[in-house]
């Protein structure tokens, strides 16, 4: 029964997407065009350059295209379904999260899981097509593929917790629109979505190593393209696991504190 309830909660946002064909079509077109544009850009940039920042043309294109595909993992529009923490805080409906026979933290986690699985299906289909078309190159070995999969899983967990922290911010600030935009910026910049982190100056790479963002995308993709050798993978996976643990404990603490701030109408 618990599994059935979990399944019903997890599928809410994906179902909302599937019931809006224009949105699905738009996502498909956007992803296709973005992949073509990004691949063209990096191929064009590398025309007069050999290896730079330790990445050759194939590695850079693979990294950039996979970063675009990974952006689909958590891109669903919960706002349209009026089910963001921000909206619930604004309309006062957050109290219902605390009246259901399902703990709010579990409900939140299940919704996120559903979104990430749905996004993962998109990313996986995109990757298969890109591999078939020769746009990205396959992983160097089965071991690289395995380490990449594990690192990507840990990276998605880090991303989930980081986004949860921003949502939990609403319990104290009521609004988190600007914080969310700053997070998106920081996430894109420090995880290497705009450009692989390896292209940035050394001080920037050092700075980002102290933050959780590069654990979300830069590490898994660098492992995939071979910029981080397998011999360093264990250390990187440990760092990712540490971020997961720290953020899990922190968000657990915040959920407890947040519950104390929720007051239903009438006190």
């Amino acid at each position: 029964m618990a599994v059935l309830h979990a399944w019903r909660s997890a599928r809410v946002t994906p179902l909302g997407e599937l019931y809006a064909p224009p949105r699905v079509t738009a996502a498909l077109i956007r992803l296709t065009v973005q992949v073509v544009l990004v691949a063209s850009l990096w191929n064009g940039l590398y025309q007069q350059t050999g290896t730079t920042a330790g990445l050759d043309r194939e590695q850079a294109v693979t990294y950039a295209v996979m970063a675009v595909l990974a952006s689909r993992l958590r891109e669903l529009d919960q706002y349209a379904g009026r089910d963001t923490v921000l909206q619930h805080m604004h309309f006062g409906t957050i109290v219902y999260w605390y009246l259901r026979p399902l703990a709010p933290q579990r409900y939140y986690a299940l919704r996120a899981l559903g979104e990430q699985l749905y996004g993962f299906a998109w990313a996986l289909a995109g990757l298969a097509l890109c591999l078939a078309a020769g746009v990205v190159r396959p992983p160097g070995s089965a071991a690289v593929a395995g380490v990449f999969a594990l690192s990507l899983l840990l990276g998605q967990l880090v991303l989930y917790y980081v986004m949860l922290v921003i949502d939990q911010l609403c319990f104290w600030t009521l609004r988190n629109g600007a914080a969310m935009l700053i997070l998106v910026f920081a996430q894109n910049l420090l995880s290497g979505v705009y450009a692989p982190l390896w292209f940035f100056p050394d001080w920037f790479i050092t700075l980002s190593s102290f933050l959780p963002f590069q654990a979300t995308l830069s590490v898994p993709l660098s492992l995939y393209v071979g910029r981080i050798p397998l011999s360093d993978a264990a250390f990187q996976l440990c760092v990712q696991a540490c971020w997961v643990l720290v953020l899990a404990l922190f968000t657990r603490f915040l959920w407890r504190r947040a519950a104390l701030r929720v007051v239903s109408q009438g006190g």
Binding site: R23, G177, F200
Partner: protein
Amino acid sequence: MNAVRIAWRITRLNFRAQLEYRSEFLLMIAIGAVWQVSVIVFATVLLTRFTGMGGWDSSEVLLIPATRMLAHAIFVLFLGRMHGIGRIIQEGMIDTYLVRPMPVFRQVQLSYFPTNAIGDLTVAVGLMVGALSRSDLDWTAGRITYLVVCVLGGMLLEAALFTAVACASLRFPAADYWGRWLEELLGTFGSYPLNVLPRAVSGFLTFGLPLAFVAYFPAAVLTGHGHDTGVPYWLAAASPLLGLAAFLGARLLWRWSLGHYTGVNG
């Protein structure tokens, strides 16, 4: 005159409303700035790692993001509420706008104060000053005038693109999704010479989605690369006019779309 006075009063009220949440207000200014900084970071990384991009030197390339970002910042300040209009439509607020004695387009623009534009504008002006100081060009009155006109043309072109998306949102509120992508495309692909891309792709970004006219063509004309853009020189030089024409066309489309808008009550 009366319309200007009303618009000014509403803007002042909107500004005060934004101040209600002080931390959000300050964060919104910050986000405007960091969003622009992200474009600078991307352009700087590319310029540092891939020198001589498309046959342009770095000071010339810098003029492209500077022009685009300034045009974008002015767009956000004056006409930016077209972006994200899907929410206004989804929440049925557009139905209220229709019965008020003020043009709907103006009401949308006056719906809230764009706090992030303060940050946008600050960074964009800073980058433009930096780009001009690094430039080896002789900045005659004619060149400066052309640059100013190009910035305004870029703003109008961006406004036209977002107005077209807004028109689609009147029919399909989910079309707002395209607006977010459009903003991303403008930020990512509007900041460097498009001749580094394959011809088909640069052609798409010129004639399919005309972002080349926002900053790339004007910067090419100013820096003497106007003949190497892949389009006739006169077309590249006429970018600001195209922006104006596109905006007028988008306004006509908006009027037509609004006339065919059907709310939930029919």
